[in-house]
Symmetry: none
Subunit: 282 residues, 2 copies
DNA sequence: TTAATTAATGAAATAAAATTTCATTTTTTC
DNA sequence: GAAAAAATGAAATTTTATTTCATTAATTAA
C-alpha cells in the first residue's frame, strides 16, 4: 500500500500537530526520506515525539520504519498507472504513456494468473504428443510467437490463424494432444467452436483468455490474463503483450521441467543460427 | 540505479569481509531493510564499521541511506533486472521473475528511445505510399503484429517473414515507400541486405534494432530498442515485447497525426468484427 | 459555564543506532 | 622476509530515535 495515499486518507483522523507533520511530508516527500526526525519536527514546528506518534498512527514501527515505507512509495516505477493518450500529446508524452500502461497491464496480468494453473499447463504441455496454438487477429501473433518458441523444443507444434485450418486441426486432434486457444475477449465464435471441437475429440484445451467468457467454459485449463485494455484507439495493445509474457512463462516452465540436458539442446538451436548472422566485433 | 544490481556488479571490487556483507544482503534483502547495522554485522560475522564501509563503497552516505536505496530497489514494481530464473524455481517464482524482467526491459527500452526519431518515423509513415514490415524469427511476430495494426488504418501495408519475398519486395520498392526492418541483434545478414536494397531503390528504411549494429548502418531512421536480453534460456523474450510496445507507439502516433475523423474509422473497423463475436451480457 | 476528564503535546531523560577514531591484524609489494 | 599498505574490529563518540512524564489544550457532563 502506498503510504502517501494512506496519509491523505487518514488526514482526518490525525490531531492538529500530526496534521502539520503530514502536510510537510506530502509537500516534499523526497526531502523527508533524507531528513532526521529532528529535522522534520523542526520543519513542521512540532516536537520530535509528535513525529514519532504520527508514524505509529500509520501502522509503522517508528520513524525509520516510516521512512522505509515512504522511500518505497517513492521508488521509481511504482506508479505504473494507466494513463490515457491525449489528442495533443507530444511524441515524448504518448511514448511514455504507452510504455507505462503496458507495464501497468503486465503487473495486473501477473496478479490475475494462478500458479497452480500454470503448473498444470506445463505438466500437460510437457506430456503432449502434439501442441497446437490457435488465435485470430492480434491473438494470432501470440499463437505465432508460441509456435516459434515451442518449435525450438523439438516437439510437434503447429499454429494456425485460419479458421478452417483451425477447425480441421481440432477435429483431427485426439487424446494426448494439447490445444491452446488464445483470445482476449473470449467471445470469438469460431474460436469457441474450435475449443469445443477439440474437447469433443479428447484433446486437452488450455485457454488464454479472461475468466467467465464463453471460451473459458470450453477449456480444460484457463489461464486468465486480465488486463484493462485501453480501447480508446480500438486496437488490442496491452492484452497481447501480457499474453506473450505468459507464453514466455509457459516456455520457461517447459524448459525447467525438462531439465538441464534439454537446455543444452536449446543452445545448439541458437548456435545453428550463427552462420546467418554477422559476427560481433566485441 | 538498482542497488542490488550494483552490489552484484561491484562484488569483485569488495574486500573479503565486505563481500560477506554483500552476500548476506543479496541472500535476503527483504530482511536487511528491517535490520540494524549491528544485526547485519552479526549476521555476516563481521564488525559494524565494515558494514558502514561497505555502504560508502556503494556511494551511499551510510547505513541508513543504504537501507533507503535498498528499500527502493525492493519496492513493488521497481525493475529488478537481475532476477534470473533458477533451476528450482516454483511456478509462482518463475512467473514473477519473467513478468518483472519484462517490465524492467520495457523501462529500459523506453529510455533508449528518442522522441525525435519517433516523430520523424510517424511523419514518414503517415506520408508513405506503401508500408512494408520485415522481420525473421521472433521479429517476424513483431512485423506480423505491425501489419495487423496498420492494416486497420486502411493504408497499403504488407509483412513478410520469408527471405525471398522480402528481397523481391525490397527490390520493387520506390521513393515514397517505407520499409520497416526489425531485428533485435541487427546482425541477420539477409535482413541487412534487404535494408540495403530498399535504400538503393529510394525507399525510406526505418530500423527497429540496437544502435551500432550492421543493420543500423543501412537505415534512414533508427529506432533503438535496447534491452538486456536474458539469454539464459536462449530464446528472445524481452526484446520482442519492447519492439511490440514500440509498434503501439508508432501506431498511436499515426492515429494522432491523422486526427479525430480518422479515429472514427478505426471504430468502424472494430465494429465490423462484432458479428463474429458472442454478445457481452453485461 | 465550569469542573472533571480525556487527549494532545513537548522537555528532558534514556535508549538505540550509527559513525569515528585508532590500534591491531592481514595482505601485498619490493 | 621486511616495509608499506590495506583491511578490520574494539571502544569511544556522536547522532538519532524513543520513552517518560509533566503540562497544556480540548472535550464532556453536570
Amino acid at each position: 500500500m502506498n503510504i502517501l495515499e494512506k496519509i491523505t486518507n487518514e488526514l482526518d483522523m490525525l490531531s492538529k500537530s500530526e496534521r502539520k507533520v503530514a502536510e510537510v511530508i506530502l509537500a516534499s516527500p523526497n526531502t523527508v526520506i533524507h531528513s532526521s526526525i529532528a529535522a522534520l519536527a523542526k520543519q513542521a514546528n512540532i516536537s520530535e515525539p509528535t513525529v514519532n506518534r504520527f508514524c505509529r498512527r500509520l501502522d509503522t514501527k517508528g520513524y525509520p520504519d516510516f521512512k522505509l515505507h515512504l522511500a518505497q512509495s517513492l521508488a521509481n516505477g511504482t506508479p505504473y498507472v494507466n494513463r490515457h493518450v491525449d489528442e495533443n500529446d507530444s511524441a515524448d508524452e504518448y511514448t511514455a504513456k504507452i510504455f507505462e500502461s503496458t507495464m501497468a497491464s503486465l503487473e495486473l496480468a501477473r496478479k490475475s494468473l494462478n500458479a497452480n494453473d500454470i503448473n498444470r499447463s506445463v505438466d500437460v504441455l510437457t506430456q503432449a504428443n502434439k501442441i497446437s496454438f490457435f488465435g485470430l487477429g492480434a491473438s494470432a501473433i501470440v499463437a505465432h510467437d508460441a509456435q516459434n518458441k515451442f518449435f525450438r523444443f523439438n516437439v510437434p507444434v503447429v499454429y494456425f490463424d485460419d479458421i478452417l485450418m483451425q477447425r480441421m486441426s481440432a477435429i483431427n486432434s485426439r487424446q494426448g494432444d494439447v490445444v491452446v486457444v488464445i483470445s482476449h475477449t473470449g467471445r470469438t465464435k469460431s474460436l469457441v467452436e474450435v475449443a469445443s471441437l477439440a474437447r469433443e475429440n479428447d484433446a486437452t484445451v488450455i485457454g488464454i483468455t479472461s475468466m467467465g467468457t464463453p471460451l473459458s467454459k470450453e477449456c480444460s485449463i484457463i489461464l486468465s490474463v486480465d488486463v484493462t485494455e485501453d480501447t480508446d484507439l480500438y486496437m488490442p495493445m496491452s492484452s497481447r503483450i501480457a499474453q506473450l509474457a505468459l507464453i514466455d512463462v509457459l516456455a520457461t516452465g517447459f524448459t525447467l521441467r525438462r531439465g538441464s540436458k534439454f537446455r543444452d539442446n536449446l543452445k545448439k538451436v541458437k548456435d545453428s543460427l550463427r552462420s546467418s548472422r554477422f559476427d560481433r566485433k566485441d
